[in-house]
């Protein structure tokens, strides 16, 4: 049913720390690895070994540069479905294949009902939905529904594949409706933000902005700053050598 639930008891989602992500793409690869054999159709590739390879991915990392001059920052930016409270991809679906679960807020596609019209991908501002060109159905992040409730797994593995695999611990999973959860506290402490709040989608996933860094100049030891070597003055024996060499210089 494409009507959104008025309220979901839980809001399961991700918190992504942009200060920590190193852009290694491990979450991208593990997402594809897990989900190509998990929920629904496999994630196909087109022309994978040719000149122009492409394929279906549910999680992608972009890299941006922000700021000017010495304050410029490079930020690696993982992006997957944000499981929005007001998910526009769900309401535009003509068949009822897209839905948001009332109990945990996860946005899913019932692939057996999807006609592959692509309208949900047009409605999503985040690029979270990709049509699988081999299957002709829409694919998206499932928040690894087939892992997080899977009692055959050990507790530590009952998190989305991207979270489990992140070597830098930049991705966190939890209930964002519960103010006492780790993820909610992280968001509160670091001022977690919504992407494109002006689109009115009310995303559940939050991003933790990079902390204020030290400007490039100040982060360096004195000798390594631009023009720094001229200011050095050695003392003792090395001072004498420096003095002697300067006389012949």
């Amino acid at each position: 049913m494409t009507e959104l639930p008025r309220k979901t008891d839980k809001k399961l989602g991700l918190v992504i720390d942009l200060d920590i992500c190193v852009g290694c793409h491990a979450c991208v690869v593990n997402c594809k690895e897990w989900n190509t054999g998990g929920y629904g159709a496999a994630l196909s590739d087109q022309n994978p070994y040719g000149d122009d390879p492409s394929g279906t991915w549910l999680n992608r990392i972009h890299t941006y540069e922000a700021g000017e001059g010495a304050d410029t920052r490079v930020v690696h930016f993982p992006k997957s479905c944000l499981h929005c409270d007001d998910a526009p991809c769900v309401t535009v679906c003509p068949t009822g294949a897209s839905y948001k679960r009332a109990d945990d807020g996860i946005v899913l596609v019932d692939e057996s009902m999807c006609i592959g019209c692509g309208l949900c991908a047009w409605a999503c501002p985040y690029g979270a939905r990709e049509m699988d060109l081999a299957e002709g159905v829409m694919k998206k992040c499932t928040l690894c529904v087939d892992r997080i409730y899977n009692e055959a797994f050990e507790e530590v593995d009952r998190v989305p594949a991207c979270v489990r695999t992140c070597p830098a611990n930049a991705r966190h999973f939890g209930d964002l409706a519960d103010p006492t959860s780790d993820v909610s506290q992280m968001v509160a402490a670091r001022g977690g933000i919504d992407l494109m709040p002006e689109q009115g989608t009310k995303p559940v996933n939050k991003y933790l902005p990079p902390r204020k860094g030290t400007p490039i100049g100040e982060a360096l030891p004195a000798a390594h700053r631009p023009g720094g070597e001229d200011d050095l003055s050695a003392t003792g024996f090395l001072g004498w050598v420096d003095d002697m060499l300067s006389r012949f210089g």
Binding site: G55, R60, G67, V90, C93, P94, A121, L195, E198
Partner: protein, 308 residues
């Protein structure tokens, strides 16, 4: 946005068909006349052909019937439901007209109203998307509706000229609606060129507080579904020329043909109007192509666009 031929033909053909059916339905063309009877057959053909084209766009056309279920929230579903419902009064009116040469006023009028509501719901599929700011406005519906009605009136004028019946009413009205349609489209183009969407690369990444944001690396070196579907930009550099072509083929030639038809004998009028219709169809196909090709989607902000 990627201009899919299936959708371009669907909106063009079904728009013309619904426009023509509405023109006959409200009695501007006598449903019992030869023009009215041929008109109903032509309108049904255009509508059915357009709807068939639209299913070519689907990954699973065999499940298309499911699209009739979510009319509570989805404009695409509403359009499907309205298209099916419209066939009932339209089919009845066509049966009365084509087989019995009778005008059944009630179904004909009901069909006319439903035709226009269906065209409106088609326009709302696009106008309701916040992600494509150029589409997200009331003018989009105005464009679809005025184009459908002007095209329908033009087709009706041709049929009347070819069958030797009719009054100057239809071509006169067509001239007026063509004028309105052109004004609406020019307003739409102006807005599309002048207004930016609410999102920027800074709001998309949330990195605005650090300063201006630039894309350093895409996720992958090659194109993907998103950049192919939402990042189409091949012909934008030709858009000025193509807009002039839309004006020329879609408006100037049909208007000249209508004027010529009003002042000349039947043979010349018919010849001019047939040329006018063919030219108009080419013009609308280009206009629809531009409607998609020029539209910028917010997701491309993640791929380096500064504004959407």
């Amino acid at each position: 946005m990627h201009p899919a031929l299936s959708i371009i033909f669907f909106t063009t053909l079904s728009g013309l068909g619904y426009g023509l059916a509405a023109v006959i339905g409200v009695g501007l063309v006598d449903g019992a006349s030869a023009a009215g009877r041929i008109g109903y057959v032509l309108a049904l053909g255009l509508i059915a052909g357009g709807l068939l084209c639209s299913t070519l766009h689907l990954g699973h056309p065999e499940r298309a019937w499911r699209a009739l279920t979510q009319w509570r929230t989805s404009w695409l579903s509403r359009e499907g439901v309205l298209a099916v419902i419209t066939f009932v009064p339209l089919g009845l009116a066509a049966i009365g007209s084509v087989f019995l040469a009778e005008v059944w006023v009630l179904p004909a009028f009901l069909a006319a109203v439903l035709c226009l509501v269906t065209v409106y719901s088609t326009s709302m599929i696009y106008a309701s998307l916040k992600t494509v700011h150029q589409w997200h406005c009331g003018l989009t519906s105005a464009v679809f509706l005025t184009f459908a009605v002007s095209g329908g009136l033009l087709l009706a004028a041709v049929l009347e000229a070819l069958t030797g019946g009719g009054s100057p009413t239809v071509p006169m009205l067509a001239l007026i609606v063509f004028g309105v349609a052109l004004v609406v489209k020019v307003m739409w183009w102006r807005r599309a060129g002048a207004e930016k969407g609410p999102s920027t690369i800074e709001s998309a990444t949330g990195l605005g507080p650090l300063g201006l944001v630039r894309l350093l690396d895409r996720p992958h070196t090659s194109e993907n579904y998103l950049t192919r579907e939402m990042g189409f930009r091949i012909a934008r550099k030709h858009s000025e020329v193509l807009r002039r072509l839309v004006f020329l083929a879609g408006f100037a030639v049909p208007v000249l043909a209508l004027v010529l038809a009003l002042i000349s004998a039947q043979t010349v009028a018919a010849l001019a109007l047939v040329t006018g219709v063919l030219s108009h169809v080419v013009g609308i196909l280009i206009e629809r192509w531009l409607f998609f090709a020029e539209a910028r989607h917010a997701v491309m902000l993640y791929y380096g666009d500064k504004t959407a």
